[in-house]
């Protein structure tokens, strides 16, 4: 899939003090549409896999305590699964997955929707583990050495050359 011009708009921030990963992105769609895209299986299936493939499995039991499971075709051994803890359309969805708390927060700003996705881990070590997951690169020796990040430092990718 060719790189899209939008990709530079995703901002990633790591708050090591709060062991939280925070991603922000603006969308040209109303909050309700984005909330539905996160909570209806036929919609999640369309966009969840970074590789651009529809999901092999997408199960959603949308109620507090209800379970969800997203499985990609490429990595069936690594499902993204958990339970919902708060369902507050159109602006807030909270879930527990893989030992961390995920929060999707939607805010309308000047006709656009500002989406913040937070992944709150239990500890700094857990945060490092989380960052390593699903990331397959040849730099594992340096990954093992990662111990810290300056608190609150935001990282935005450079434009591709």
């Amino acid at each position: 899939m060719p790189a899209q011009s939008h990709s530079a708009e995703t901002n990633l921030e790591i708050d090591r003090g709060a062991h939280t990963i925070r991603m922000a992105r603006a969308f040209d769609a109303p909050r309700a549409a984005i909330f539905a895209a996160w909570t209806q299986p036929e919609q999640v299936s369309c966009w969840w896999d970074a590789a651009g493939e529809p999901l092999a499995t997408c199960e959603i039991d949308l109620r507090p305590g209800g379970a969800f499971k997203f499985i990609t075709k490429g990595r069936p051994e690594m499902p993204f699964a958990g339970t919902y803890s708060e369902i507050a359309p159109p602006d807030r969805l909270v879930f527990e997955a893989m030992g961390s708390t995920g929060r999707v927060m939607l805010q309308e700003v000047a006709g656009k929707t500002h989406m913040v996705v937070e992944i709150a881990c239990q500890s700094a070590e857990h945060l490092d583990q989380y960052l390593k997951m699903g990331v397959h690169t040849g730099t594992s020796q340096t990954l093992d050495n990662l111990v810290a990040y300056a608190r609150g430092r935001s990282i935005t990718a450079d434009e591709p050359a």
Binding site: S7, M23, A37, V135, V147, A150
Partner: protein, 115 residues
């Protein structure tokens, strides 16, 4: 030593430097602009030798560098070092960026179906 080795050694020393909370706090302070040793002493309630020791570790790791004013010896963030660390996190960011690109395309698709 190959370039890859050098790169990996530099990252290791950067990660070591970042393992200390005081050094992380110093870096966080320098993100808002350069500062001299005495300016750094105040907020951290540390002695001049202690601050200097931490600055040395950060400097050796290539995370900070000396500013232009030779007398005050202000320190500032070294932009390239932070970029190396940013590169480390890049695969994770890219994965989510790709996912959000898909979501963006999906939302546009849903919108056009409505019409």
């Amino acid at each position: 030593m190959t370039m890859q080795d050098r790169h990996s050694e530099r990252l290791s020393s950067a990660f070591y430097a970042l393992s200390d909370p005081t050094r992380r706090a110093i870096l966080a302070r320098l993100t808002s602009g350069e500062a001299s040793v005495s300016q750094l002493m105040e907020p951290f309630h540390l002695s001049q030798p202690t601050i200097s020791k931490h600055l040395k570790v950060l400097e050796n790791a290539g995370l900070i560098e000396g500013g232009r004013d030779a007398q005050r010896r202000p320190r500032r963030l070294a932009p390239h070092a932070m970029k190396d660390i940013a590169d480390w996190i890049e695969p994770f960011r890219q994965q989510w960026a790709a996912r959000f690109d898909n979501l963006d395309a999906h939302l546009a698709n849903m919108k056009s179906q409505e019409k």
